[in-house]
Protein backbone atom coordinates (compact mmCIF):
# COMPACT_ATOMS: atom_id res chain seq x y z
CA UNK A 1 0.00 0.00 0.00
CA UNK A 2 2.80 2.29 1.00
CA UNK A 3 4.59 1.37 -2.20
CA UNK A 4 1.50 2.12 -4.27
CA UNK A 5 1.20 5.59 -2.74
CA UNK A 6 4.87 6.33 -3.29
CA UNK A 7 4.67 5.21 -6.91
CA UNK A 8 1.57 7.29 -7.48
CA UNK A 9 3.36 10.29 -5.97
CA UNK A 10 6.04 10.11 -8.71
CA UNK A 11 3.36 10.20 -11.45
CA UNK A 12 2.80 13.98 -11.43
CA UNK A 13 6.55 14.57 -11.52
CA UNK A 14 7.16 12.27 -14.50
CA UNK A 15 4.07 13.61 -16.30
CA UNK A 16 5.32 17.15 -15.71
CA UNK A 17 8.64 16.15 -17.27
CA UNK A 18 6.84 14.57 -20.23
CA UNK A 19 4.70 17.70 -20.65
CA UNK A 20 7.72 20.03 -20.69
CA UNK A 21 9.61 17.77 -23.08
CA UNK A 22 6.78 17.42 -25.59
CA UNK A 23 5.85 21.11 -25.27
CA UNK A 24 9.37 22.26 -26.05
CA UNK A 25 9.98 19.61 -28.72
CA UNK A 26 6.90 20.29 -30.80
CA UNK A 27 7.62 24.03 -30.74
CA UNK A 28 11.07 23.37 -32.14
CA UNK A 29 9.56 21.84 -35.28
CA UNK A 30 10.15 24.35 -38.08
CA UNK A 31 7.05 26.01 -39.54
CA UNK A 32 3.84 27.18 -37.86
CA UNK A 33 0.57 25.38 -37.36
CA UNK A 34 -1.63 27.88 -39.19
CA UNK A 35 0.32 27.47 -42.42
CA UNK A 36 0.32 23.70 -41.90
CA UNK A 37 -3.45 23.73 -41.33
CA UNK A 38 -4.44 25.87 -44.31
CA UNK A 39 -1.73 24.79 -46.73
CA UNK A 40 -1.49 27.04 -49.78
CA UNK A 41 -4.59 28.95 -48.67
CA UNK A 42 -2.59 30.35 -45.76
CA UNK A 43 -1.17 32.82 -48.27
CA UNK A 44 -4.65 34.28 -48.75
CA UNK A 45 -4.99 35.33 -45.09
CA UNK A 46 -4.66 38.99 -44.22
CA UNK A 47 -2.27 39.65 -41.32
CA UNK A 48 -5.29 40.53 -39.18
CA UNK A 49 -7.00 37.21 -39.96
CA UNK A 50 -3.80 35.34 -39.21
CA UNK A 51 -3.47 37.13 -35.87
CA UNK A 52 -7.10 36.35 -35.05
CA UNK A 53 -6.56 32.64 -35.78
CA UNK A 54 -3.38 32.59 -33.71
CA UNK A 55 -5.21 34.27 -30.84
CA UNK A 56 -8.09 31.77 -31.15
CA UNK A 57 -5.70 28.83 -30.76
CA UNK A 58 -3.70 30.71 -28.12
CA UNK A 59 -0.43 30.47 -30.04
CA UNK A 60 0.10 34.24 -30.16
CA UNK A 61 1.34 34.29 -26.56
CA UNK A 62 4.95 33.81 -25.35
CA UNK A 63 5.77 30.15 -24.72
CA UNK A 64 5.65 30.26 -20.92
CA UNK A 65 2.16 31.78 -21.04
CA UNK A 66 1.13 29.07 -23.48
CA UNK A 67 2.59 26.39 -21.24
CA UNK A 68 0.94 27.81 -18.14
CA UNK A 69 -2.44 28.03 -19.88
CA UNK A 70 -2.09 24.51 -21.20
CA UNK A 71 -1.23 22.98 -17.81
CA UNK A 72 -3.92 25.04 -16.11
CA UNK A 73 -6.43 23.83 -18.68
CA UNK A 74 -5.47 20.17 -18.20
CA UNK A 75 -6.03 20.42 -14.47
CA UNK A 76 -9.57 21.50 -15.33
CA UNK A 77 -9.94 18.70 -17.86
CA UNK A 78 -9.41 20.93 -20.88
CA UNK A 79 -6.64 19.72 -23.19
CA UNK A 80 -7.07 22.53 -25.70
CA UNK A 81 -8.39 22.59 -29.25
CA UNK A 82 -6.86 20.65 -32.10
CA UNK A 83 -5.99 22.92 -35.01
CA UNK A 84 -6.46 20.17 -37.60
CA UNK A 85 -9.78 18.84 -36.32
CA UNK A 86 -11.17 22.10 -34.91
CA UNK A 87 -12.39 20.08 -31.91
CA UNK A 88 -11.30 19.53 -28.30
CA UNK A 89 -8.15 17.40 -28.12
CA UNK A 90 -9.57 15.01 -25.56
CA UNK A 91 -12.55 14.24 -27.85
CA UNK A 92 -10.26 13.46 -30.76
CA UNK A 93 -7.97 11.27 -28.63
CA UNK A 94 -10.83 9.38 -26.98
CA UNK A 95 -12.40 8.78 -30.38
CA UNK A 96 -9.23 7.05 -31.60
CA UNK A 97 -8.44 5.23 -28.37
CA UNK A 98 -11.00 2.36 -28.55
CA UNK A 99 -9.43 1.04 -31.76
CA UNK A 100 -5.94 1.17 -30.27
CA UNK A 101 -7.11 -0.49 -27.07
CA UNK A 102 -8.96 -3.21 -28.95
CA UNK A 103 -5.96 -3.87 -31.18
CA UNK A 104 -3.66 -4.09 -28.14
CA UNK A 105 -6.04 -6.48 -26.34
CA UNK A 106 -6.46 -8.69 -29.41
CA UNK A 107 -2.71 -8.86 -29.99
CA UNK A 108 -2.12 -9.78 -26.38
CA UNK A 109 -4.78 -12.51 -26.50
CA UNK A 110 -3.12 -13.95 -29.62
CA UNK A 111 0.33 -13.68 -28.04
CA UNK A 112 -0.67 -15.41 -24.81
CA UNK A 113 -2.88 -18.03 -26.47
CA UNK A 114 -0.03 -19.06 -28.78
CA UNK A 115 3.03 -18.18 -26.71
CA UNK A 116 2.12 -19.76 -23.37
CA UNK A 117 1.31 -23.27 -24.62
CA UNK A 118 4.25 -23.17 -27.04
CA UNK A 119 6.63 -22.09 -24.27
CA UNK A 120 5.40 -24.70 -21.80
CA UNK A 121 5.49 -27.40 -24.47
CA UNK A 122 9.07 -26.51 -25.40
CA UNK A 123 10.16 -26.46 -21.75
CA UNK A 124 8.64 -29.86 -20.99
CA UNK A 125 10.21 -31.31 -24.16
CA UNK A 126 13.53 -29.63 -23.54
CA UNK A 127 16.39 -30.50 -25.93
CA UNK A 128 14.12 -32.64 -28.12
CA UNK A 129 13.60 -31.83 -31.82
CA UNK A 130 10.17 -30.34 -31.05
CA UNK A 131 11.77 -27.93 -28.55
CA UNK A 132 14.30 -26.90 -31.16
CA UNK A 133 11.49 -26.36 -33.68
CA UNK A 134 9.58 -24.09 -31.30
CA UNK A 135 12.75 -22.15 -30.48
CA UNK A 136 13.65 -21.61 -34.13
CA UNK A 137 10.15 -20.38 -34.98
CA UNK A 138 10.13 -18.10 -31.93
CA UNK A 139 13.51 -16.65 -32.83
CA UNK A 140 12.37 -15.93 -36.38
CA UNK A 141 9.13 -14.47 -35.04
CA UNK A 142 10.98 -12.17 -32.71
CA UNK A 143 13.18 -10.96 -35.54
CA UNK A 144 10.37 -10.22 -37.97
CA UNK A 145 9.42 -6.53 -37.96
CA UNK A 146 5.68 -5.92 -37.97
CA UNK A 147 5.83 -4.05 -41.25
CA UNK A 148 7.59 -6.92 -43.01
CA UNK A 149 5.06 -9.42 -41.69
CA UNK A 150 2.14 -7.08 -42.46
CA UNK A 151 3.19 -6.64 -46.08
CA UNK A 152 3.86 -10.36 -46.38
CA UNK A 153 0.36 -11.17 -45.11
CA UNK A 154 -1.25 -8.69 -47.51
CA UNK A 155 0.82 -10.03 -50.38
CA UNK A 156 0.03 -13.67 -49.62
CA UNK A 157 -3.67 -12.92 -49.37
CA UNK A 158 -3.85 -10.89 -52.55
CA UNK A 159 -1.50 -12.96 -54.71
CA UNK A 160 -2.47 -16.37 -53.35
CA UNK A 161 -6.17 -15.98 -52.68
CA UNK A 162 -7.13 -12.84 -54.55
CA UNK A 163 -8.54 -11.19 -51.43
CA UNK A 164 -7.57 -7.95 -49.80
CA UNK A 165 -7.76 -7.22 -46.08
CA UNK A 166 -10.99 -5.46 -45.09
CA UNK A 167 -10.24 -1.76 -45.17
CA UNK A 168 -12.39 1.28 -45.78
CA UNK A 169 -14.49 3.01 -43.15
CA UNK A 170 -13.63 1.61 -39.73
CA UNK A 171 -16.56 -0.06 -37.92
CA UNK A 172 -16.50 0.29 -34.11
CA UNK A 173 -16.94 -2.90 -32.12
CA UNK A 174 -20.33 -1.98 -30.65
CA UNK A 175 -21.83 -1.01 -34.01
CA UNK A 176 -20.79 -3.89 -36.23
CA UNK A 177 -18.78 -6.50 -34.30
CA UNK A 178 -18.26 -8.84 -37.26
CA UNK A 179 -17.01 -6.17 -39.61
CA UNK A 180 -14.91 -4.73 -36.81
CA UNK A 181 -13.23 -8.08 -36.18
CA UNK A 182 -12.66 -8.68 -39.88
CA UNK A 183 -10.86 -5.33 -40.00
CA UNK A 184 -8.77 -5.86 -36.90
CA UNK A 185 -7.86 -9.53 -37.04
CA UNK A 186 -4.99 -9.20 -39.54
CA UNK A 187 -3.41 -6.17 -37.83
CA UNK A 188 -3.75 -8.04 -34.53
CA UNK A 189 -2.05 -11.12 -35.97
CA UNK A 190 0.68 -8.90 -37.41
CA UNK A 191 1.35 -7.33 -34.02
CA UNK A 192 0.69 -10.52 -32.09
CA UNK A 193 3.21 -12.65 -33.99
CA UNK A 194 6.40 -11.09 -32.65
CA UNK A 195 4.68 -10.62 -29.30
CA UNK A 196 3.80 -14.35 -29.21
CA UNK A 197 7.40 -15.19 -30.07
CA UNK A 198 8.66 -13.17 -27.09
CA UNK A 199 6.08 -14.79 -24.81
CA UNK A 200 7.13 -18.25 -26.03
CA UNK A 201 10.78 -17.58 -25.33
CA UNK A 202 10.26 -16.09 -21.91
CA UNK A 203 7.69 -18.73 -20.90
CA UNK A 204 10.05 -21.49 -21.97
CA UNK A 205 13.05 -20.17 -20.07
CA UNK A 206 10.99 -19.32 -16.96
CA UNK A 207 9.42 -22.77 -17.01
CA UNK A 208 12.84 -24.43 -17.43
CA UNK A 209 14.17 -22.47 -14.45
CA UNK A 210 11.25 -23.45 -12.27
CA UNK A 211 11.27 -27.10 -13.35
CA UNK A 212 14.83 -27.47 -12.06
CA UNK A 213 13.92 -26.01 -8.66
CA UNK A 214 13.97 -28.16 -5.54
CA UNK A 215 10.29 -27.85 -4.74
CA UNK A 216 9.35 -29.20 -8.15
CA UNK A 217 11.68 -32.15 -7.60
CA UNK A 218 10.05 -32.68 -4.21
CA UNK A 219 6.60 -32.59 -5.75
CA UNK A 220 7.72 -35.14 -8.33
CA UNK A 221 9.32 -37.43 -5.82
CA UNK A 222 6.26 -37.49 -3.60
CA UNK A 223 4.45 -38.87 -6.63
CA UNK A 224 2.57 -35.92 -8.04
CA UNK A 225 1.51 -36.49 -11.65
CA UNK A 226 3.41 -34.73 -14.40
CA UNK A 227 0.34 -32.66 -15.18
CA UNK A 228 -0.14 -31.56 -11.59
CA UNK A 229 3.54 -30.64 -11.27
CA UNK A 230 3.33 -28.42 -14.32
CA UNK A 231 -0.01 -26.78 -13.67
CA UNK A 232 -0.12 -26.58 -9.88
CA UNK A 233 3.51 -26.15 -8.90
CA UNK A 234 5.56 -24.82 -11.77
CA UNK A 235 3.24 -22.64 -13.81
CA UNK A 236 2.26 -20.03 -11.21
CA UNK A 237 5.91 -19.19 -10.61
CA UNK A 238 6.82 -19.27 -14.27
CA UNK A 239 4.06 -16.74 -14.93
CA UNK A 240 5.87 -13.82 -13.32
CA UNK A 241 8.29 -12.99 -16.16
CA UNK A 242 5.50 -13.57 -18.68
CA UNK A 243 3.35 -11.01 -16.89
CA UNK A 244 6.17 -8.45 -16.90
CA UNK A 245 6.89 -8.90 -20.57
CA UNK A 246 3.23 -8.85 -21.66
CA UNK A 247 2.55 -5.83 -19.48
CA UNK A 248 5.36 -3.77 -20.92
CA UNK A 249 4.50 -4.82 -24.47
CA UNK A 250 0.83 -4.02 -23.86
CA UNK A 251 1.80 -0.61 -22.52
CA UNK A 252 3.72 0.10 -25.72
CA UNK A 253 0.82 -1.08 -27.87
CA UNK A 254 -1.50 1.35 -26.08
CA UNK A 255 0.66 4.13 -27.50
CA UNK A 256 -0.58 3.10 -30.92
CA UNK A 257 1.10 0.98 -33.53
CA UNK A 258 2.08 3.67 -36.02
CA UNK A 259 3.41 1.42 -38.74
CA UNK A 260 0.80 -1.34 -38.60
CA UNK A 261 -1.97 1.26 -38.54
CA UNK A 262 -0.35 2.81 -41.59
CA UNK A 263 -0.14 -0.48 -43.49
CA UNK A 264 -3.74 -1.48 -42.78
CA UNK A 265 -5.09 2.10 -43.03
CA UNK A 266 -6.53 2.04 -39.51
CA UNK A 267 -7.51 5.27 -37.75
CA UNK A 268 -5.69 4.51 -34.47
CA UNK A 269 -3.85 6.62 -31.96
CA UNK A 270 -0.40 6.05 -33.51
CA UNK A 271 -1.26 7.40 -36.93
CA UNK A 272 -3.11 10.30 -35.35
CA UNK A 273 0.00 11.33 -33.40
CA UNK A 274 2.19 10.96 -36.49
CA UNK A 275 -0.18 13.16 -38.53
CA UNK A 276 -0.43 15.65 -35.67
CA UNK A 277 3.36 15.94 -35.49
CA UNK A 278 3.60 16.42 -39.25
CA UNK A 279 0.77 19.01 -39.14
CA UNK A 280 2.37 20.84 -36.18
CA UNK A 281 -0.92 20.47 -34.32
CA UNK A 282 0.66 21.53 -31.01
CA UNK A 283 -2.33 20.94 -28.76
CA UNK A 284 -3.07 17.52 -30.23
CA UNK A 285 0.54 16.28 -30.02
CA UNK A 286 0.91 17.52 -26.46
CA UNK A 287 -2.41 16.12 -25.29
CA UNK A 288 -2.05 12.73 -26.94
CA UNK A 289 1.55 12.19 -25.82
CA UNK A 290 0.57 13.01 -22.25
CA UNK A 291 -2.39 10.64 -22.52
CA UNK A 292 -0.16 7.85 -23.89
CA UNK A 293 2.52 8.39 -21.24
CA UNK A 294 -0.11 8.30 -18.49
CA UNK A 295 -1.55 5.01 -19.80
CA UNK A 296 1.92 3.54 -20.05
CA UNK A 297 2.70 4.42 -16.44
CA UNK A 298 -0.60 2.99 -15.21
CA UNK A 299 0.04 -0.28 -17.06
CA UNK A 300 3.53 -0.49 -15.56
CA UNK A 301 2.13 0.07 -12.10
CA UNK A 302 -0.46 -2.67 -12.64
CA UNK A 303 2.32 -5.02 -13.74
CA UNK A 304 4.18 -4.36 -10.50
CA UNK A 305 1.03 -5.01 -8.50
CA UNK A 306 0.48 -8.23 -10.43
CA UNK A 307 3.88 -9.48 -9.21
CA UNK A 308 2.73 -9.24 -5.64
CA UNK A 309 -0.47 -11.07 -6.44
CA UNK A 310 1.46 -13.85 -8.17
CA UNK A 311 4.29 -14.14 -5.71
CA UNK A 312 3.49 -13.32 -2.09
CA UNK A 313 7.22 -13.46 -1.28
CA UNK A 314 7.79 -10.23 -3.20
CA UNK A 315 7.35 -7.11 -1.12
CA UNK A 316 7.55 -4.13 -3.38
CA UNK A 317 9.66 -1.15 -2.44
CA UNK A 318 11.72 -2.96 0.19
CA UNK A 319 15.25 -3.09 -1.04
Amino acid sequence: MNYLLRRLATFPLVLLGVSVLVFVAIRMVPGDSITAMLGTEAGLLTPAQRDALAAYFGIDQPWFVQYWRWIGGILRGNFGISVTYGRPVLDVVLERFPLTLELAVLSMIIALAVGMPAGIYAATHSEKPSDLGVRVIAMIGQSTPSFVLGLLIIYTLSAGFGVLPAMGEFAPLWQDPLRNLSQLILPAVTLGFAFAASVTRIARSAMLDVLSDDYVRTARSKGASARSVIWRHALPNALIPVVTLSGIEFGYLLGGAVIVEQIYALPGLGRMVLDAILQRDYALVQGSVLFIAFNFMIVNLLVDLAYVALDPRIRLGEQ
Binding site: G17, L21, A25, I26, I140, F147, L151, G256, I292
Partner: protein
Protein backbone atom coordinates in the same frame (compact mmCIF):
# COMPACT_ATOMS: atom_id res chain seq x y z
CA UNK B 1 39.89 -15.35 -27.80
CA UNK B 2 38.35 -17.68 -25.24
CA UNK B 3 35.04 -15.84 -25.61
CA UNK B 4 35.17 -15.97 -29.39
CA UNK B 5 35.74 -19.71 -29.22
CA UNK B 6 32.87 -20.07 -26.79
CA UNK B 7 30.56 -18.14 -29.10
CA UNK B 8 31.50 -20.32 -32.03
CA UNK B 9 30.95 -23.39 -29.89
CA UNK B 10 27.44 -22.14 -29.22
CA UNK B 11 24.90 -23.18 -31.87
CA UNK B 12 23.06 -19.90 -32.22
CA UNK B 13 26.30 -17.95 -31.75
CA UNK B 14 27.79 -19.64 -34.78
CA UNK B 15 24.79 -18.87 -37.00
CA UNK B 16 24.37 -15.34 -35.62
CA UNK B 17 28.07 -14.60 -35.95
CA UNK B 18 28.12 -15.74 -39.57
CA UNK B 19 25.03 -13.69 -40.45
CA UNK B 20 26.48 -10.57 -38.83
CA UNK B 21 29.84 -11.10 -40.57
CA UNK B 22 28.18 -11.43 -43.99
CA UNK B 23 26.11 -8.31 -43.36
CA UNK B 24 29.17 -6.36 -42.25
CA UNK B 25 30.86 -7.30 -45.49
CA UNK B 26 27.80 -6.27 -47.54
CA UNK B 27 27.54 -3.02 -45.57
CA UNK B 28 31.17 -2.13 -46.19
CA UNK B 29 30.89 -2.97 -49.90
CA UNK B 30 27.68 -0.95 -50.06
CA UNK B 31 29.25 2.04 -48.34
CA UNK B 32 32.33 1.90 -50.57
CA UNK B 33 30.11 1.79 -53.64
CA UNK B 34 31.41 -1.64 -54.65
CA UNK B 35 27.97 -2.80 -55.80
CA UNK B 36 27.09 -4.68 -59.02
CA UNK B 37 25.49 -1.51 -60.41
CA UNK B 38 25.30 2.09 -59.25
CA UNK B 39 22.44 2.07 -56.73
CA UNK B 40 20.92 5.32 -58.02
CA UNK B 41 21.45 4.88 -61.77
CA UNK B 42 18.13 4.49 -63.54
CA UNK B 43 18.16 1.87 -66.31
CA UNK B 44 14.89 3.12 -67.76
CA UNK B 45 14.70 0.45 -70.43
CA UNK B 46 14.79 -2.26 -67.76
CA UNK B 47 12.15 -0.88 -65.41
CA UNK B 48 10.52 -3.48 -63.12
CA UNK B 49 12.77 -6.19 -64.53
CA UNK B 50 12.35 -9.52 -62.73
CA UNK B 51 15.46 -11.03 -61.08
CA UNK B 52 17.90 -12.18 -63.77
CA UNK B 53 21.63 -12.69 -64.37
CA UNK B 54 22.11 -8.98 -65.04
CA UNK B 55 19.94 -7.81 -62.13
CA UNK B 56 20.19 -10.47 -59.39
CA UNK B 57 17.25 -9.14 -57.46
CA UNK B 58 15.45 -7.36 -60.30
CA UNK B 59 14.96 -3.63 -60.81
CA UNK B 60 12.51 -1.15 -59.32
CA UNK B 61 10.01 1.26 -60.84
CA UNK B 62 12.78 3.60 -61.94
CA UNK B 63 14.95 0.83 -63.33
CA UNK B 64 17.42 0.88 -60.44
CA UNK B 65 19.16 -2.35 -59.51
CA UNK B 66 17.56 -3.80 -56.38
CA UNK B 67 20.62 -5.83 -55.32
CA UNK B 68 22.86 -2.75 -55.41
CA UNK B 69 20.29 -0.67 -53.57
CA UNK B 70 19.98 -3.44 -51.02
CA UNK B 71 23.74 -3.34 -50.36
CA UNK B 72 23.75 0.44 -50.14
CA UNK B 73 20.71 0.24 -47.87
CA UNK B 74 22.42 -2.27 -45.59
CA UNK B 75 25.40 0.08 -45.39
CA UNK B 76 23.04 2.90 -44.51
CA UNK B 77 21.10 0.92 -41.88
CA UNK B 78 24.27 -0.40 -40.26
CA UNK B 79 25.81 3.08 -40.11
CA UNK B 80 22.75 4.40 -38.30
CA UNK B 81 22.53 1.35 -36.04
CA UNK B 82 26.21 1.42 -35.03
CA UNK B 83 26.43 5.14 -34.36
CA UNK B 84 23.11 5.31 -32.52
CA UNK B 85 23.99 2.35 -30.30
CA UNK B 86 27.45 3.84 -29.68
CA UNK B 87 25.74 7.09 -28.66
CA UNK B 88 23.29 5.29 -26.35
CA UNK B 89 26.03 3.10 -24.84
CA UNK B 90 28.30 6.05 -24.12
CA UNK B 91 25.56 8.33 -22.79
CA UNK B 92 23.88 5.54 -20.84
CA UNK B 93 27.14 4.33 -19.29
CA UNK B 94 28.22 7.80 -18.21
CA UNK B 95 24.79 8.64 -16.79
CA UNK B 96 24.35 5.26 -15.13
CA UNK B 97 27.80 5.36 -13.51
CA UNK B 98 27.29 8.97 -12.41
CA UNK B 99 23.91 8.11 -10.90
CA UNK B 100 25.26 5.08 -9.07
CA UNK B 101 28.54 6.62 -7.90
CA UNK B 102 27.37 10.10 -6.93
CA UNK B 103 24.15 8.73 -5.43
CA UNK B 104 21.39 10.67 -3.70
CA UNK B 105 20.42 13.81 -5.55
CA UNK B 106 22.23 12.97 -8.78
CA UNK B 107 20.73 9.53 -8.81
CA UNK B 108 17.27 10.97 -8.29
CA UNK B 109 17.59 13.57 -11.04
CA UNK B 110 19.13 11.24 -13.62
CA UNK B 111 16.70 8.42 -13.00
CA UNK B 112 13.64 10.72 -13.09
CA UNK B 113 14.79 12.08 -16.46
CA UNK B 114 15.15 8.50 -17.67
CA UNK B 115 11.64 7.74 -16.37
CA UNK B 116 10.34 10.63 -18.47
CA UNK B 117 12.07 9.27 -21.58
CA UNK B 118 10.88 5.74 -20.87
CA UNK B 119 7.28 6.92 -20.50
CA UNK B 120 7.32 7.76 -24.22
CA UNK B 121 6.72 4.87 -26.58
CA UNK B 122 10.08 4.46 -28.38
CA UNK B 123 8.90 5.03 -31.92
CA UNK B 124 6.91 8.17 -30.97
CA UNK B 125 9.90 9.69 -29.21
CA UNK B 126 12.06 8.96 -32.25
CA UNK B 127 9.39 10.44 -34.53
CA UNK B 128 9.21 13.60 -32.48
CA UNK B 129 12.98 14.07 -32.48
CA UNK B 130 13.22 13.41 -36.21
CA UNK B 131 10.47 15.91 -36.98
CA UNK B 132 12.15 18.54 -34.85
CA UNK B 133 15.55 18.11 -36.45
CA UNK B 134 14.36 17.26 -39.96
CA UNK B 135 14.73 13.76 -41.43
CA UNK B 136 18.15 12.43 -42.37
CA UNK B 137 20.82 9.92 -41.48
CA UNK B 138 22.38 11.77 -38.56
CA UNK B 139 19.03 12.81 -37.15
CA UNK B 140 18.07 9.14 -37.08
CA UNK B 141 21.32 8.39 -35.25
CA UNK B 142 20.58 10.99 -32.56
CA UNK B 143 16.90 10.04 -32.30
CA UNK B 144 17.53 6.31 -31.92
CA UNK B 145 20.48 7.03 -29.62
CA UNK B 146 18.35 9.13 -27.27
CA UNK B 147 15.55 6.57 -27.30
CA UNK B 148 17.86 3.78 -26.12
CA UNK B 149 19.92 5.81 -23.66
CA UNK B 150 17.55 5.14 -20.70
CA UNK B 151 17.85 1.39 -21.23
CA UNK B 152 21.65 1.54 -21.03
CA UNK B 153 21.47 3.85 -18.04
CA UNK B 154 19.38 1.24 -16.24
CA UNK B 155 21.59 -1.65 -17.33
CA UNK B 156 24.63 0.16 -15.92
CA UNK B 157 23.16 1.75 -12.80
CA UNK B 158 21.74 -1.40 -11.18
CA UNK B 159 24.90 -3.54 -11.22
CA UNK B 160 27.07 -0.47 -10.54
CA UNK B 161 25.10 0.18 -7.36
CA UNK B 162 25.63 -3.34 -6.10
CA UNK B 163 29.31 -3.32 -7.10
CA UNK B 164 29.76 -0.04 -5.23
CA UNK B 165 28.69 -1.75 -2.02
CA UNK B 166 31.17 -4.62 -2.42
CA UNK B 167 34.25 -5.05 -0.26
CA UNK B 168 36.81 -4.63 -3.02
CA UNK B 169 35.53 -1.10 -3.68
CA UNK B 170 35.86 -0.29 0.03
CA UNK B 171 39.33 -1.80 -0.03
CA UNK B 172 40.33 0.31 -3.04
CA UNK B 173 39.08 3.39 -1.24
CA UNK B 174 41.08 2.60 1.89
CA UNK B 175 44.16 2.22 -0.28
CA UNK B 176 43.57 5.76 -1.44
CA UNK B 177 42.43 5.07 -5.03
CA UNK B 178 40.76 8.06 -6.65
CA UNK B 179 37.06 8.00 -7.52
CA UNK B 180 37.75 8.07 -11.24
CA UNK B 181 40.13 5.11 -10.89
CA UNK B 182 37.59 3.07 -8.94
CA UNK B 183 34.76 3.93 -11.33
CA UNK B 184 36.72 3.05 -14.46
CA UNK B 185 38.78 0.12 -13.18
CA UNK B 186 36.48 -1.54 -10.68
CA UNK B 187 32.99 -0.65 -11.77
CA UNK B 188 33.25 -0.24 -15.54
CA UNK B 189 35.43 -3.29 -16.13
CA UNK B 190 32.95 -5.44 -14.26
CA UNK B 191 30.13 -4.07 -16.40
CA UNK B 192 31.68 -5.02 -19.73
CA UNK B 193 29.86 -8.36 -19.89
CA UNK B 194 26.28 -7.09 -19.38
CA UNK B 195 27.02 -4.12 -21.64
CA UNK B 196 28.26 -6.33 -24.47
CA UNK B 197 25.06 -8.37 -24.40
CA UNK B 198 22.96 -5.22 -24.29
CA UNK B 199 24.87 -3.63 -27.19
CA UNK B 200 24.27 -6.66 -29.42
CA UNK B 201 20.56 -6.74 -28.66
CA UNK B 202 20.31 -2.94 -29.01
CA UNK B 203 21.83 -3.22 -32.49
CA UNK B 204 18.90 -5.44 -33.45
CA UNK B 205 16.39 -2.88 -32.12
CA UNK B 206 18.25 -0.01 -33.74
CA UNK B 207 18.09 -1.74 -37.14
CA UNK B 208 14.38 -2.27 -36.56
CA UNK B 209 13.76 1.34 -35.54
CA UNK B 210 15.83 2.71 -38.42
CA UNK B 211 13.86 0.60 -40.89
CA UNK B 212 10.63 1.76 -39.25
CA UNK B 213 11.55 5.43 -39.48
CA UNK B 214 12.59 5.07 -43.12
CA UNK B 215 9.41 3.12 -43.80
CA UNK B 216 7.42 6.13 -42.56
CA UNK B 217 9.51 8.42 -44.78
CA UNK B 218 11.30 10.02 -41.80
CA UNK B 219 14.66 8.29 -42.06
CA UNK B 220 17.01 8.17 -45.00
CA UNK B 221 15.77 10.44 -47.78
CA UNK B 222 15.50 9.40 -51.44
CA UNK B 223 17.20 8.88 -53.80
CA UNK B 224 19.61 7.30 -51.27
CA UNK B 225 18.72 3.68 -50.63
CA UNK B 226 17.44 2.34 -47.34
CA UNK B 227 15.77 -0.95 -46.55
CA UNK B 228 12.72 0.63 -44.89
CA UNK B 229 12.20 3.02 -47.78
CA UNK B 230 12.52 0.24 -50.36
CA UNK B 231 9.92 -1.77 -48.50
CA UNK B 232 7.58 1.19 -48.24
CA UNK B 233 7.96 1.92 -51.98
CA UNK B 234 7.18 -1.70 -52.80
CA UNK B 235 3.68 -1.51 -51.37
CA UNK B 236 1.90 -0.36 -54.51
CA UNK B 237 3.79 -2.73 -56.77
CA UNK B 238 3.40 -5.81 -54.63
CA UNK B 239 1.52 -7.87 -57.18
CA UNK B 240 3.42 -6.85 -60.32
CA UNK B 241 6.89 -6.89 -58.76
CA UNK B 242 6.91 -8.93 -55.54
CA UNK B 243 10.74 -9.00 -55.53
CA UNK B 244 10.69 -5.33 -54.55
CA UNK B 245 9.13 -6.35 -51.26
CA UNK B 246 10.58 -9.80 -50.64
CA UNK B 247 14.31 -8.98 -50.81
CA UNK B 248 14.36 -5.88 -48.58
CA UNK B 249 11.91 -7.58 -46.19
CA UNK B 250 14.12 -10.64 -45.87
CA UNK B 251 17.23 -8.47 -45.60
CA UNK B 252 15.81 -6.58 -42.62
CA UNK B 253 14.54 -9.73 -40.98
CA UNK B 254 17.75 -11.73 -41.33
CA UNK B 255 19.92 -8.85 -40.07
CA UNK B 256 17.82 -8.56 -36.92
CA UNK B 257 17.84 -12.34 -36.55
CA UNK B 258 21.64 -12.35 -36.75
CA UNK B 259 22.05 -9.86 -33.91
CA UNK B 260 19.38 -11.56 -31.80
CA UNK B 261 21.11 -14.94 -32.17
CA UNK B 262 24.50 -13.43 -31.39
CA UNK B 263 23.07 -11.57 -28.39
CA UNK B 264 21.55 -14.76 -27.03
CA UNK B 265 24.83 -16.63 -27.42
CA UNK B 266 26.76 -13.81 -25.76
CA UNK B 267 24.36 -13.82 -22.85
CA UNK B 268 24.83 -17.55 -22.39
CA UNK B 269 28.60 -17.27 -22.66
CA UNK B 270 29.13 -14.15 -20.57
CA UNK B 271 26.44 -14.41 -17.91
CA UNK B 272 27.81 -16.46 -15.01
CA UNK B 273 24.30 -17.39 -13.94
CA UNK B 274 23.48 -19.18 -17.17
CA UNK B 275 26.99 -20.43 -17.86
CA UNK B 276 26.37 -23.68 -16.03
CA UNK B 277 23.25 -24.37 -18.09
CA UNK B 278 23.77 -26.66 -21.06
CA UNK B 279 23.87 -24.70 -24.31
Amino acid sequence: MRILRAIFGHGSGRIGGCIVAVYLLLAILGLLGLTPHNPITQYRIDRLHAPSAAYWMGTDLFGRDVASRLMAGIGQSFTVAFFSVAFATLAGTVLGLAAAWLGRRWDGVVMRIMDVLLAFPAILLALLIVTVAGPGTWTSVIAIGIVYTPIFTRVVRGPALSLKAREFVDAARTFGSSSSYIVTRHLLLNLVAPLTVQVTLALAWALLTEAGLSFLGLGTQPPAASLGLMLSDSRNLMETAPWLMIFPGLAIMISILGFNLLGDALRDVLDPKTRRAPA
